[in-house]
Amino acid sequence: MVEAAHSLVRRVAASRTFLAGALLTGLLVATAVVSLFWTPYDAIVPDMPIKLQGSSAEHWLGTDHYGRDVLSRLMVGARSSIVVGLVAVGLGLSLGVVLGALAAARGGWLDELLSRISDLVFAFPAVLSAVLITAIYGPGAVNAIIAIGIFNVPVFARVTRAAARQAWARDYVRAALALGCSPLAVTWRHVLPNIASLLIVQATIQFAVAILAEAALSFLGLGVQPPQPSWGRMLNDALTYMYVAPGIAIYPGLAIVLAVLGLNLLGDGLRDLLDPRLRRLR
């Protein structure tokens, strides 16, 4: 056991991908948490006399067109990205796993029907569902979450279905069924634990996708509404003012890149670390 734990620690320490990803993701989360208690300046109240300033000792990343501190707004914006991303992925994960596990357990027409529906949703990028929802209910963070969440359902349903079908074919699962376990119990006790690591990796990567989608929706004005800061919205404002203050077009984009890069690296690193060959060591 001790040896196994040592081996895992060694592997974690050796995986540069995982470490870089964990570092960037940790930075993202830490920024959002710190912004709950402290930001250099108020992120929402305008201060017109100092609008569109470049970097300075007082305002490290300058100020926007209302004279608000860009760094403070980026910090609070991290919160929007994390909340929208987490809830959207959580929604897609919970619904997708149930549907995927059901399709794998039952098969037949139900499986076929669920596959067709997931094909349909795949032809519908998150932007289109957001447009539909926004058209009738108006823009907002909740509607953005629903749009991104809907897109995530078939992603998780497919991963779950494919992996669960492999698990169902294993001898010990067949044995459990033969011993009279119900399909639900088999799914819960044998199938899901087997595919959990796969789902964790997928969730990390979908989190990155969700942050990109949230940024695109806010950029179009379909996501988080002003004055609440969001990275996408800040880039939309920059379209008008970047000729005077290029900084406001650069920093929010960098924030998105670092967040997405971090989560993608974390996902890749986790995939390597959670490789099935490792599982017997734990």
Partner: protein
């Protein structure tokens, strides 16, 4: 009578396209007109008097039974009658037809750039597996995946329009001036195309790596074929099959990308029409655009699927 497998495949795929589009149209209709939320009230605006709302309800036939409304909409779409835009008071079909010559060439240019960049880079990375060139390509694509295409577009504007002054920052001169039109589509197509290329490069690389391990490739080496014939004649051609599938799947994102990118470069395409329609609460246009874009994505996937059946060297593999 025996139908050839290719024809049978074609018929099966056309049926599934029809079912997909039917389902998509139901979803659009249900979300906009059946779920809670009054379309007449939305179009009239929330400050409108109940009388105005009733007038609009009559005008757009929203007082009729849902099944009738749905059949009317679909029947109209099939004969090219897309309804009258609520905001512009002109046929929606005209508005859409005016904007297709911007969006379609933009999407086509972006796709061409993505393919032209990704396939050679992916092949290069695969044939230099785990060497410095491969690692550089992989690092660049990892970064490219993290860069939102609209931010990349903004950076291109900052560099080429604001700093260097080589391009206009936006707008579209129309196809009467073909060179100027192409030029105004170039930066947005680059922004979209290179973003898509990041993903496609990885797909090409891993597909080529899989193919390189196949027995027939080893046989080809043993037969003494030149490296060039093996890499391009065997590996590339076979690896293209999974790559085309991903290209089809990426089309949904590419077209969604044009919606966003048009709004950076002030291009009068479908994306700008759509964002304007949301601001104007023009549900007629939104309904039509969403189903049209879905149809475009489905059509491209069908084309990819048929192309795949044509390039797949294995006999009888048409699924």
């Amino acid at each position: 009578m025996r139908v050839s497998p290719m024809l049978e495949h074609l018929i099966r795929r056309l049926l599934s396209v029809a079912v997909t589009l039917f389902a998509a149209s139901l979803v659009v209709f249900v979300v906009l007109e059946i779920l809670p939320g009054d379309p007449a009230q939305v179009m009239a605006g929330y400050e409108a008097s109940p009388e105005t709302v009733e007038v609009l309800r009559k005008l757009y036939g929203l007082d009729r039974p849902p099944v009738e409304r749905y059949l009317d909409w679909i029947g109209g779409l099939l004969v090219g009658d897309f309804g009258i835009s609520h905001a512009y008071h002109v046929p929606a079909a005209n508005l859409i037809a005016e904007r297709l010559p911007v969006t379609l060439p933009l999407a086509a240019m972006a796709l061409t750039i993505a393919i032209a960049v990704a396939l050679p880079l992916g092949m290069f990375a695969a044939t230099h597996h785990n060497r410095r060139g491969d690692l550089t390509v992989m690092a660049a694509s990892q970064l490219g995946i993290a860069v939102p295409e609209f931010w990349f577009g903004i950076l291109l504007v900052l560099l080429f329009s604001v700093t260097l002054g080589w391009f206009n920052a936006g707008g579209f001169p129309g196809w009467d001036e073909p060179l100027a039109a192409l030029q105004s589509l170039l930066l947005p197509a680059l922004a979209l195309g290179l973003s898509q290329a990041s993903i496609l490069t990885r797909v090409m690389r891993s597909a080529a790596l899989d193919t390189l391990r196949e027995d027939y490739v080893r046989t080809a080496w043993a037969k003494g074929l030149t490296r060039r014939r093996i890499v391009w004649g065997h590996v590339f051609r076979n690896a293209l099959i999974p790559v085309t599938t991903i290209i089809g799947l990426q089309m949904a994102f590419l077209i969604a990308g044009t919606i966003v990118i048009e709004n950076i470069f002030f291009l009068p395409g479908l994306g700008q029409l759509m964002v304007g329609a949301i601001a104007n609460r023009d549900l007629i246009i939104i309904k039509d655009l969403v189903i049209l874009i879905t149809a475009m994505v489905v059509a491209v996937n069908l084309a990819v699927d048929l192309l795949q059946a044509a390039i797949d060297p294995r006999p009888g593999h048409h699924g």
